[in-house]
Assembly symmetry: C2
Homo-oligomer: 120 residues x 2
Amino acid sequence: MKGKVNINEKLGKFTAHWTPKIIGELNGQYVKLAKVKGEMVWHSHADEDEMFYILKGSLTLKFRDGEVTLNEGDMYIIPKKVEHQPIAEEECHLMLFEPISTAHTGDVESELTVKELEWI
Amino acid sequence: MKGKVNINEKLGKFTAHWTPKIIGELNGQYVKLAKVKGEMVWHSHADEDEMFYILKGSLTLKFRDGEVTLNEGDMYIIPKKVEHQPIAEEECHLMLFEPISTAHTGDVESELTVKELEWI
């Protein structure tokens, strides 16, 4: 039956950091996978909430008023407009759930910004 | 920092089968956890695509023209209007993503239907 997606098989298809890949679409939302390591730029999304679900490793989310460290099996929903900076000391694998309209680094453009996301 | 959700901790908060619990909300969608065992009724959702992500165990989705068995780490998006029957021989734990508007068993009502979903 078509349509079954195995997360580990999809994770094996790319190595680049901070380059989310699309693995599913439903109700105007994308499901994405990402591998991250190091620091992302500070940014926010004006109109989109964003969910991070940690598949492997640890991710720290810095906010202007604090920070949270997520480990495997943790999820976090960042509300629209909230400035955040994701940081991973070691490689971290995560699943993202966000509207199709979501720009990678919001209204901030940096050398890390990916404009055209790829399906895998 | 408020807002961190650990999936295993949430799974420890309920035991009932076929009774999805809400663990997050973003962009008009709910993130839910469910424990299932046995057969659900055949149903479809007129306006909502539905995503199943398997956290533990196996789930078979029967369709009118075939079936698919999902194991841990597999995800599947059931498009709106597609009739399906979820079946789990042994207990299976899953994460669901679907619009807030999604009725548990679509337009079918059975003794398994849960009308008021609970946040945990």
